[in-house]
């Protein structure tokens, strides 16, 4: 009810806004400024949600709750003058909120939960025996579209558009499915990084307690690229069959995206430079040059992306030439398979940007992405700081919403964060805590019987 009301009012208000020449926010001329950020931190940043998430159920009244848990979590702030503050820690949501409002950081990173409060670490560092050490940390992934620069032609560097976004959608789908089906994780949050990539937070207890070695092994499980040839990162697939994980990725995701979307978006076969790169992957040079000639000639052969791809496929799969069995897959993998930043995932102490931060270069908010609808996600129309502030102002005075963000486009993101991620996670934490507590109680009862 309130919402519908607010939409109507907003429309009216917007007209009023422009005509009344509101001094504070005519039409935001740039996407980002520290003044805007201050308002964002003042009214929109979801402190209590972040606090609840990071507490993993320890903020309750249950006897098993560890009151020190949240305060052992490291946060780090990047300030306006590029000063970087590490090892920040907070005792409560209010504490967190006050510090952020006061310091107005352009970026907030989240680190691990340490054995002791990170701001008190100096008291615990002894020679040789390091008592200050990470004990829990989400399993995280960082996928940056610049890793794909060798195969995307629509943008380069830190730009991203709807033609190369499918590469991110592919990465999300492949990795999300593997994390759930292969590794058995359930509480996974995907977040837009604000400019050119996505982050993944795996928050199951089992994931948070993984050793560096285990993280490394998961990262390697997701790795198929073996160096680059001619400036192309090539996937190397050997063996008589593909591992079930790779086979599933190929059949369910990679081939489809490649054939229906990428070859068109990137015009992979109609531009000579681009298809030459693909032909370079073929180990049999005579086959490669045969196809090259055919396409260069151009008169009678097909010039459509699909047509040429079909031609290439049938030639490689015809079985007439040896050693080309895996060639089609290698091409598809090289052009689609996720390229994660290996270093980010391997170590517990790697810091990663918090969701709902604002990216200073674009002004876009780092909002969650629904993996089931990642195809429809449009990074270019993500709410920006200036948009949100306009919406806030347009909302006017009538509002009796509990939270300011309900009047803005951030509403959708926060509701999604809560319903699909936070609430199931909280439920699971509570269950985990209760069951381990009752197990401990039983155990101590048994031993105290003492016969």
């Amino acid at each position: 009810m309130t919402k519908e009301g607010s939409f109507n009012e907003k429309d009216d208000m917007e007209i009023d806004l422009h005509s009344s020449g509101n001094q504070q926010l005519k039409k935001c001329s740039h996407e980002f400024s520290f003044d805007y950020l201050k308002v964002y931190y003042g009214k929109l940043f979801p402190y209590s949600d972040i606090f609840r998430w990071m507490s993993y159920g320890n903020d309750g009244k249950h006897p098993a709750c560890d009151e020190s848990y949240f305060s052992r979590r490291e946060f780090s702030f990047t300030l306006e003058n590029d000063v970087y503050l590490r090892f920040q820690s907070f005792k409560s949501a209010t504490d967190l909120e006050n510090s952020i409002k006061e310091k107005c950081p352009s970026k907030i990173d989240i680190g691990p939960v340490y054995s002791v409060d990170p701001s008190k670490r100096h008291a615990y560092v002894q020679a040789g025996n390091n008592v200050f050490t990470p004990v829990e940390r989400e399993l995280v992934f960082d996928i940056d579209i610049t890793e794909y620069d060798d195969i995307r032609y629509c943008c380069s560097g830190s730009d991203i558009c709807l033609n190369c976004w499918p590469l991110m959608a592919i990465a999300i789908k492949v990795i999300d499915t593997a994390l759930r089906d292969d590794f058995g994780f359930n509480h996974i949050l995907w977040v837009y990084s604000g400019r050119r990539g996505v982050h993944c937070w795996v928050c199951d207890g089992r994931a948070r307690r993984l050793s560096n070695e285990a993280r490394s092994s998961i990262t390697d499980y997701f790795h198929v690229y073996k160096g680059s040839e001619n400036g192309l990162k090539k996937a190397s697939l050997t063996g008589l069959a593909l591992h079930p994980f790779l086979a599933r990725a190929y059949t369910d995701v990679l081939l489809d995206y490649f054939e229906r979307t990428l070859i068109h978006n990137q015009k992979l076969f109609s531009v000579e430079d681009r298809y030459e790169k693909i032909l370079d992957i073929i180990p049999d040079k005579s086959v490669a040059s045969e196809i090259h000639e055919k396409w260069q000639g151009n008169k009678r052969s097909s010039t459509s992306e699909e047509g040429r791809w079909d031609q290439l496929k049938s030639m490689l799969q015809s079985g007439k030439h040896k050693g080309l069995r895996r060639c089609v897959e290698e091409i598809v993998f090289s052009y689609t398979f996720p390229r994660i930043d290996m270093e980010v995932s391997k170590h517990m102490n790697h810091l990663l940007k918090a969701p709902f931060c604002v990216h200073p270069k674009t002004g876009r908010v780092c909002i969650p992405i629904d993996p089931k609808h990642c195809d429809d996600f449009d990074p270019t129309s993500v709410p920006t700081l200036s948009l949100l502030l306009e919406e806030l102002n347009a909302g006017g005075v009538q509002m009796d919403v509990e939270n300011d963000w309900e009047r803005t486009s951030l509403d959708q993101s926060i509701m999604f964060f809560r319903s699909s991620f936070l609430q199931p996670l909280m439920k699971s934490c509570k269950e985990e805590m209760e069951s381990s507590y009752s197990a401990r109680v039983q155990q101590s009862n048994k031993s105290s019987l003492g016969w």
Partner: protein
């Protein structure tokens, strides 16, 4: 859980010769044996170190380890074989616990030794060792196996191994087998890895390694706090000497020699002389003459080789 594939039951003879070295044996050992057993084991470990640094393949290493063990870890009394194994291991723990570098080296070599000895054990013996480690593995029951067997075959094919219907598979949490996960050599389902019997060595070895690593740290503490002082007149000097002992060929004593006579020299020149000397000697034979420098060099060489005929006789002979 039942194991469907194997029909054999472990027999008494399948008891393993391999120890996990969980705790020091309460045996009495003579002081000489204390040192000698350790030296023998050290030869094995250094042999392994050489083999690894020469880049030997796993099958070559297996042979090497077998040979090293048989050569050095023998004992006239067969019943003492296992004791020698245990005693030597624990003595070397004392020797190699003392610094980080020593610990790293010892850990690597003992783990390699264990890995290859494990590979040489029988299947039953291997399974008993797995049980000793109390690994959280479960052999698959029939229903589970049927559900995943296609995928298991696919994984086997992807890593170039023939899928054998008799292979036993185990289900373990994926954290237990990081190497296998990293190289996609196992099927993963809902957080469990499906590990073939022949891959199990990897699990066992990594447990061995982590147990030994922890033990070494504890040993070091005990050494520095009590043992070193307590044993300063008896064991400590031996331990410290072992740490810096050289175990290679003994070059300090002159080798056995026999006099070389004129008639032998021809033959010896072709087989045993270094090239420079051979060249000089051949020139002597051809020209019946050698300049002063050459004469000095060859002369000194022959003198050293205990050839006592004067040089001029040599020249005239040839």
């Amino acid at each position: 859980m039942e194991i469907l594939r194997s029909q054999k039951k472990p027999t008494a003879e399948a008891a393993s010769n391999l120890s996990l070295y969980r705790c020091a044996p309460s045996l009495e050992v003579r002081l000489d044996d204390f040192e000698l057993y350790a030296i023998d084991r050290l030869r094995v470990l250094k042999g392994i170190s050489n083999g690894l640094s020469r880049g030997k393949r796993p099958d070559e290493m297996e042979t090497l380890v077998n040979e090293l063990w048989r050569t050095n870890m023998r004992h006239p009394d067969v019943t003492q074989l296992i004791n020698k194994d245990l005693i030597s291991h624990f003595v070397l723990r004392l020797v190699y616990c003392r610094t980080d570098e020593l610990r790293k080296w010892f850990l690597s070599m003992e783990t390699a030794l264990f890995r290859y000895r494990f590979r040489l054990e029988s299947l039953e013996s291997q399974r008993m060792l797995m049980a000793e480690f109390q690994l959280p593995y479960k052999a698959l029951n029939y229903v589970e196996y049927e559900r995943v067997k296609d995928k298991l075959t696919q994984v086997s094919r992807s890593i170039g191994q023939s899928s054998n219907v008799d292979t036993i598979f185990f289900k373990v949490p994926f954290e237990e087998v990081p190497e296998l996960v990293a190289n996609r050599r196992v099927f993963l389902l809902k957080g469990n890895a499906y590990v073939a019997m022949n891959q199990v060595a990897s699990i066992v070895v990594s447990h061995f390694r982590s147990n030994l690593s922890k033990a070494l740290v504890l040993t070091n503490r005990k050494w520095t706090s009590t043992i070193r002082e307590q044993e300063k007149d008896r064991l400590t000097p031996i331990v410290e000497a072992l740490g810096s002992s050289y175990l290679g060929p003994d070059y300090s004593q002159p080798m056995e020699f026999t006099d070389i006579s004129l008639k032998d020299i021809d033959q010896l020149a072709n087989t045993s002389f270094p090239l420079c000397m051979r060249h000089l000697f051949n020139r002597l034979r051809e020209d019946h003459h050698l300049k002063h420098g050459g004469r000095m060099q060859l002369g000194l060489f022959l003198k050293e080789k205990h050839y006592f005929t004067p040089f001029h006789v040599l020249c005239w002979t040839y």
